[in-house]
C-alpha cells in the first residue's frame, strides 16, 4: 500500500486510539469507548502491517542493533512491573475511574485477606478478614464472600476459593449462588425461547429484581433503600474434633443499612449450615446455632471488618 496512505492512516488511527485510550482510563467503563478502541485497534494493526511491509529493509537494520535489544528488555520489564503492581503503579492506576467492568479486587497477605468492591465511584466497600489462631496461611481455609438482600436471596458473590471441592466445603454459599444462577438462566431462557419459537411475545410474571448488584447496594432513595447483608462462609477441611469428623463451615454476617450509614462494621457469626429436605425433596440449607461442639472452626477467623466509604454521587448512573 502506498506510503502516503499508510502514514496518513496510521496518524488518524493513532489519534483515535489515543483519545479512546485516555477516555477508557479516566472515565467509568463504557462499552462504546471499548468498542471503538478495539475496532480501531484492529484497523491500526492492519495499517502497521503495511507500514512494516513498506519499511522492512530499514526496520530489519534497526532490529539488528543493540538498542533494539535494550528497548525490548525495557518494554518486557515495564510490562512485568505493571503486572506485579507495586505501590507506585497502584498509585497511578488509582487515578483511573475505570479498571474494567469488574469493580472488585482481592488481596491475600499471610493471615490477612483484603477484598475491595466498588459498585459505584462514590460507594466503595472494603472487607478486611483477619485469620484467627486456627488459620494456617500455608493451607488457607475455603472462603466465600457474598452479598444478599434482606430476604436471604443472593445478589452477588464477591469472592470464593477456587480450589477443588469448594462447592462441598462452602455448601451454604454454593446453594445460594446456585439458586441465583438458576433464576438468572430462567430470565435468559425467556428471551431465547421467544426467539426460538417464533412467538411474537411471551407473557410471564415480571422479574421484580434486577440482576445488577449496584441496584441493591448503592443508595438511591433514602426512604426506599432496603438493607442488604454482607456474608462470609469459612471452612477448614479435615478439622476433626471429638464431636465432628469434620467440623462444618461457619457463616458470618452483617447488615448494611444505607439509611443509617456507618463507615465501620464488624461481621458476626450467625451459624453453621445443615442441609434439610422439604416435602417436595428439594434440599435447602439452614443455619444452626454454633454450639460447644464447634471448637477450632471458631478460631479460623479472628475478625472481619467492613468499611464503606460513601461520597456524594457525581451524577446519574
Amino acid at each position: 500500500m502506498k506510503r502516503q496512505w499508510v502514514s496518513n492512516l496510521i496518524a488518524m488511527l493513532f489519534v483515535t486510539l489515543a483519545v479512546t485510550g485516555l477516555m477508557g482510563f479516566f472515565l467509568p467503563f463504557n462499552l462504546l469507548t471499548v468498542s471503538v478502541h478495539s475496532f480501531v485497534g484492529f484497523i491500526f494493526i492492519t495499517a502497521i502491517s503495511f507500514h512494516i511491509k513498506n519499511n522492512w529493509r530499514s526496520l530489519r537494520g534497526y532490529f539488528k542493533k543493540r538498542s533494539a535489544v535494550v528497548l525490548l528488555l525495557c518494554v518486557a520489564g515495564f510490562i512485568a512491573v505493571v503486572l506485579w503492581q507495586p505501590p507506585p503503579i497502584k498509585a497511578i492506576l488509582a487515578l483511573s475511574d475505570n479498571l474494567g467492568p469488574d469493580p472488585s479486587r482481592f488481596e491475600l497477605d499471610g493471615q490477612r485477606m483484603l477484598y475491595r468492591y466498588d459498585p459505584a465511584p462514590h460507594y466503595r466497600m472494603q472487607l478486611e478478614v483477619m485469620g484467627g489462631l486456627a488459620y494456617d496461611a500455608d493451607q488457607p481455609p475455603f472462603v466465600a464472600i457474598w452479598i444478599e438482600n434482606r430476604s436471604g436471596y443472593h445478589i452477588k458473590s464477591l469472592y470464593h476459593s477456587e480450589q477443588e471441592g469448594y462447592a462441598t466445603q462452602l455448601p451454604y454459599w454454593h446453594h445460594k449462588r446456585s439458586e441465583y444462577l438458576k433464576y438468572k438462566r430462567e430470565q435468559e431462557a425467556l428471551t431465547d425461547a421467544e426467539r426460538a419459537s417464533k412467538l411474537d411475545a411471551i407473557s410471564s410474571a415480571t422479574e421484580n429484581d434486577s440482576f445488577d448488584p449496584a441496584d441493591y447496594i448503592v443508595p438511591r432513595d433514602a426512604e426506599r433503600d432496603a438493607p442488604y447483608r454482607v456474608m462470609i462462609e469459612i471452612n477448614q477441611p479435615g478439622d476433626a474434633n471429638t464431636d465432628h469428623a469434620d467440623q462444618p463451615s461457619l457463616v458470618y454476617s452483617i447488615e448494611v443499612d444505607n439509611r443509617d450509614p456507618r463507615t465501620f462494621q464488624v461481621l458476626e457469626i450467625v451459624g453453621y449450615p445443615k442441609a434439610e429436605q422439604d416435602a417436595g425433596e428439594a434440599t435447602t440449607w439452614s443455619l444452626f446455632f454454633v454450639d460447644e461442639t464447634i471448637t477450632t472452626a471458631r478460631e479460623l477467623l479472628d475478625s472481619a471488618l467492613l468499611r464503606i466509604a460513601r461520597d456524594e454521587p457525581r451524577g446519574e448512573r
Partner: protein, 277 residues
C-alpha cells in the same frame, strides 16, 4: 487504479458485505418495526406495522412510560402516588384524573376479588405495582394509535402483553405463556391474540413475592402461574395476581362467576383453563 485505492475498494466492499449479512439476520416481518427498552425495572418490547420511524416512536413511548412512572411508581420518592401516600391530609391532595381513576379501578377490583388483589398489600400505603404495568401497556397502545395512527401492534412490558390488529402473519399475534425450566419438556401454551391482552402472575422468578393481603404471608400453592386474557391489560394485570392468590379452586370458581378467561398452570406442567361463553 493504484494499489492503495484497490485495497480501499476491497475493504469497502467487504464492509458492505458484512453489513448486508448482518441485516439478513434481523427478524423478518416486512412492514413491521420493532424496538426494545427498559421501564419499571424491566424490559419492554414494541412491534408495530407501518413505516413510522422507530426512533421517533420509541421516544414517544419512553416519554409516556416516564410520565406513568412519575405518576404511579412506588420506587421513587417524588412520584405523585408517593407524595399522596405521605400527605398529611389525603382528602385535600389534588390527585391527577388519571391516577384517581387508576386508584378507583384498583379499589373496584379489590372489592370484586374479596381482597385477593389489594392496593394496600401491607395494609399501609397505596401500592399500585400490581396494576400499573398493565395500565402502562394500555396507555402505550393508545399512544401508538393517537399519535401515529398505528392500529396493528404488540406491546409487551415485563410480560404484560397487548396485541392489536392482525399481526405479521395476518392471523393475530402469537403469544406464549412462560414455563420455568423446573417443568421444562412440557410444551408451553401459546395463544393467538387479536385486539386483546394477557397478563401473568407467578412466583417463579427470584424476589417475585406475592403476598396474600388477607394473611400477610407469601402465597404457597400448586400453581406455577395464572394468566388472564382481557381487553384491558389494566384489569388483566390485577386479576392475574388476584387469581394466583386465590389458588386453583377458588380462582377457577371466581373466573367462572365473573366470566373471566383465565389459564392456570400447575407445578406438574398441566393446566386448566376457563373460557367464558
Amino acid at each position: 487504479m493504484s494499489n492503495g485505492r484497490r485495497w480501499l475498494v476491497r475493504i469497502f466492499a467487504a464492509g458492505l458485505l458484512c453489513i448486508l449479512a448482518w441485516s439478513l439476520t434481523r427478524p423478518s416481518g416486512i412492514g413491521f418495526a420493532y424496538f426494545t427498552g427498559e421501564a419499571f425495572a424491566t424490559a419492554y418490547h414494541v412491534t408495530y406495522a407501518g413505516d413510522r420511524d422507530p426512533v421517533t416512536v420509541q421516544q414517544a413511548v419512553d416519554a409516556e412510560l416516564a410520565r406513568i412512572d412519575a405518576m404511579a411508581s412506588t420506587w421513587r420518592n417524588d412520584s405523585e402516588l408517593m407524595r399522596y401516600n405521605r400527605a398529611e391530609d389525603p382528602e385535600s391532595f389534588e390527585l391527577s384524573p388519571e391516577l384517581a381513576l387508576l386508584i378507583e379501578r384498583a379499589e373496584a377490583i379489590e372489592a370484586q376479588t374479596g381482597g385477593a388483589f389489594s392496593l394496600r398489600p401491607d395494609g399501609g400505603a397505596i401500592d399500585l405495582s400490581g396494576i400499573a404495568k398493565g395500565h402502562a401497556v394500555d396507555r402505550v397502545v393508545e399512544l401508538l394509535w393517537r399519535e401515529f395512527g398505528i392500529k396493528d401492534c404488540l406491546v409487551d412490558i415485563g410480560g404484560e402483553v397487548k396485541a392489536i390488529g392482525d399481526g405479521p402473519k395476518g392471523d393475530g399475534w402469537r403469544v406464549g405463556l412462560y414455563l420455568p425450566s423446573t417443568i421444562a419438556g412440557i410444551e408451553a401454551p401459546a395463544l393467538q391474540l387479536r385486539d386483546t391482552s394477557v397478563a401473568t402472575s407467578g412466583a417463579y422468578f427470584k424476589g417475585d413475592h406475592i403476598i396474600d393481603p388477607q394473611t400477610g404471608k407469601h402465597v404457597v400453592n400448586d400453581l406455577v402461574s395464572v394468566s388472564v386474557i382481557h381487553a384491558s391489560n389494566t384489569d388483566a394485570d390485577a386479576l392475574a395476581t388476584a387469581l394466583y392468590v386465590m389458588g386453583t379452586e377458588r380462582g377457577l370458581q371466581w373466573a367462572e362467576d365473573n366470566a373471566i378467561h383465565a389459564i392456570f398452570l400447575f407445578n406438574d406442567g398441566t393446566q386448566q383453563t376457563h373460557v367464558p361463553d
